[in-house]
Homo-oligomer: 233 residues x 2
DNA sequence: TGACGCATACTAGTATACAAGTATTCAAGT
DNA sequence: ACTTGAATACTTGTATACTAGTATGCGTCA
């Protein structure tokens, strides 16, 4: 019989090798593991000090998310960045976030406003200190905040899953260029419109903001061709 | 070394117990497996004549999709329909499909038009013959066609993944009510606006069409309370 | 009669062993 | 020099054995 939902799930036991999942995902995201690189189950298993079984489950999930490619009886490889997937991710993210920021501008409360201002301040601090990793997280947190304020917190999970490929590009960008200052200004614009309750301008600014990736994709795919999938013959 | 992409992937071997995945997914979707029902790995394994290993991978994926709930050391159960997940799915689907049908209306070619008309005819035939399963598939096919015509074929995969919870409600509806005739008319309206190239009306009609589920959700959650998650205390 | 404690059965998590397929290497033959 | 073939190493797929935690049932005790 399924457990009653009145339980207070007190430490219902640690999940599993969830750490391994996070580690691999991050290493692929940041480019530590490069596309095309071979990552055999056995190697990962002994490196993590566990057996192949949990490693397999992690790899299956990463394969579902498009981070790795599993070829039966051949091997497991870090998946290349597929430009078509990047464009599709951008489309979905833009569609969803343009609608949610509109709702956010209409549903804003005073507490929400404080959160947005605090996030913006934190971004400026990270930028000042040159902590790009922290900035990366704060960027995500701001976008997540908009979705939450819109009253659809669960949507952020979907967006995060979809923008996986986008994040790989984003990391390449952070390493090779210095556009964070521009991003902070755009974030400030977004927050400003939301605080003003101007849904129309907030949506327009979000659309423009999310489309800045287009400018970098083309350049990055030339600078790091080995990170991207070879175009069809 | 990763294989070259010039290969013609001649029957690169059957995937695996992918059949089991489809079977379980369908049985949960159609209500053959009822929410709360216990589905131990061992039972599924011996029923399918395989070992626990592939069964586990299937269950992990179903858990990621929200179809089953795995409680460590306790059991695996068919997940209840979460109303909040249904509403979130509806929001995402509406947001994406309203934008794509707008694009479809603008990008329509003559070949696309023929596909839409043929699908509509097939729906009417299925309705006449009372084949609700075929109608179910044709419904999906029409929506997929809009997405494809919009030039974003891959988006349909995401929509399908998101609307998993919606489909469970949809199946309950098909069994307990007779609203297919109304749906066919709505589909005809959608197709009509797209054929006319009227993006505005097509989007409005799509929004109204997708929101028809709201009318049934409330009723269904009362008629089949055992299919839905108990609200928080 | 009720509550408590313990033994038992059952579950998923993990590790390991085995099977099946692929890529690579190298040697033999043309 | 090149092709071809088989042997070998290596990979993932699958099955099985074992571990650890949970729920259940029964017996005991107050």
């Amino acid at each position: 019989m399924p457990p009653v939902s009145t339980e207070l799930r007190l430490h219902r036991r640690a999940p599993i090798g969830r750490e391994l999942y996070g580690m691999l995902r991050r290493q692929i995201l940041t480019g530590v593991l490069r596309p095309g690189e071979s990552i055999p189950e056995t190697t990962l298993a002994e490196r993590a000090g566990v057996s192949r079984t949990p490693v397999r489950e992690v790899l299956r999930r990463l394969a579902d998310e498009g981070f790795v490619t599993i070829i039966p009886q051949v091997g497991t490889y870090v998946a290349p960045i597929r430009l078509s997937a990047v464009y599709d991710s951008q489309f979905i993210r833009e569609t969803l976030e343009c609608r949610t920021i509109r709702l956010a501008a209409e549903n804003l409360t005073e507490a929400d406003a404080a959160v947005l201002r605090a996030n913006l301040a934190a971004q400026r601090a990270s930028l000042e200190a040159g902590e790009s990793d922290a900035f990366f997280d704060q960027d995500d947190a701001l976008h997540a905040a908009f979705v939450r304020i819109a009253g659809r917190p669960a949507i952020w999970e979907v967006i995060q899953g979809v923008k996986a490929q986008l994040d790989r590009v984003r990391y390449l960008s952070l390493q090779s260029g210095d556009w964070p200052p521009m991003l902070v200004e755009e974030h400030a614009t977004l927050v400003g419109h939301v605080l003003a309750g101007d849904a129309g301008r907030a949506e327009a600014a979000m659309r423009a903001h999310l489309r800045t990736v287009f400018a970098t994709i083309e350049r990055l795919s030339r600078v790091n061709p080995d990170f991207f999938e070879k175009p069809a013959p």
